[in-house]
């Protein structure tokens, strides 16, 4: 009887641990849930999608034809109020998208032969009130310079996050 009871407790314990996963669930990477007015990986993906939409749709890129110019990743500046944003992660998403599009080649910073440098800035403006409402406006600016230092293209994307 005791063995039966203990096995029931044992298995019911397993059921609650393995079967129902408590409050944890698997999310959809395309969804962009926010628990606070901070950027998430979903926002990084959206930024990458939107700025590359603009860049790849521009006359600057269309003029390359079948050429695949070499890019290096230059300075990535985080001008936001939050120092924890990983600009490297954000830029990895952008270079991944550009690389997979087959329009560019990405070379290391140590390379001596390249055509363009990508630089980007992440900026915010912030408003809030005493009741805890908050509006944080994020702007990602992507700039492409040639080796002569001339700005050849600039594209941006905005994301306002509002906390009621």
């Amino acid at each position: 009887m005791l063995a039966l009871l203990s096995s029931f407790v044992l298995f019911s314990g397993c059921a609650s641990t393995i079967g129902g996963q408590g409050a944890v669930r698997i999310g959809d990477p395309a969804e962009r849930p926010h628990l606070a007015t901070v950027l998430t990986t979903g926002d990084y993906l959206a930024f990458a999608e939107n700025v590359t939409n603009e860049m790849l749709g521009s006359s600057f890129v269309a003029a390359w034809g079948s050429k695949q110019p070499k890019f290096i990743v230059g300075k990535l500046r985080n001008n936001t109020h939050n120092e924890n944003y990983r600009m490297g992660d954000l830029h990895d998403r952008i270079t991944e998208t550009l690389l997979n599009s087959g329009t560019v080649r990405v070379v290391d910073k140590s390379a001596t032969s390249f055509d363009y440098i990508i630089k980007s800035d992440l900026n915010t403006t912030r408003q809030g009130n005493s009741k805890g409402a908050e509006l944080v406006y994020f702007t990602l600016v992507l700039k492409v310079f040639d080796i002569g230092g001339e700005l050849k293209g600039q594209w941006s994307d905005d994301l306002p996050l509002i906390k009621g």
Binding site: G27, R32, H34, L45, N53, L56, G57, T97
Partner: protein, 161 residues
């Protein structure tokens, strides 16, 4: 008869004619076509209030650019979100975009554009829906379906009033 003689005897004319036919044949898909752009509206209310027009797919360099316009025919202000999913010619998913939010004021329109970020991307499917904010509230994690449904019905009820 004279014209026929001229055509037959003039080799240059024949070459030009062949070139013109070739250019017309090649440029047919380049001119822009809507067959490979699909826009799916989620829910009867959106289908009733919104119009989709000017669907177009164009080559841009070695990539494809798909777009459409959406028109709000109602007096409701719509907060919506869309997602662009790109497929290759065999309907294999090439890329799935994130949900992008936008506002559509009453009786106003908006253009939506996406670029297939791979040379294989040739078919674009856009999905449009009301925002799924239910997942934002931590206490509602895992219950978003109930929240969304109640959100929808609340909106519909308020509209009916």
């Amino acid at each position: 008869m004279k014209l026929r003689k001229i055509v037959l005897n003039n080799r240059r004319f024949a070459k030009i004619a062949v070139a013109v036919i070739l250019v017309l044949f090649i440029s047919l898909p380049i001119a822009g076509y809507a067959g490979d752009v699909e826009v799916l509206l989620s829910g009867d209310r959106l289908k009733q209030d919104l119009d989709i027009a000017h669907k177009v797919m164009r080559p841009i360099g070695r990539l494809s650019k798909a777009g459409f316009t959406i028109q709000n025919r109602s007096n409701n202000l719509y907060n919506l979100e869309y997602q662009a999913v790109w497929f290759d010619q065999y309907m294999q998913t090439v890329s799935t975009g994130t949900w992008q939010r936008f506002t559509l004021p009453p009786n106003m329109g908006k253009g939506v554009v996406s670029i297939g970020k791979s040379q294989e991307a040739s078919i674009a499917v856009f999905q449009i829906r009301l925002p799924h904010d239910g997942v934002i509230n931590g206490s509602n994690l895992g219950k978003e379906h109930k929240y969304e449904n109640s959100n929808m019905s609340e909106r519909e009820n308020s509209d009916n009033k």
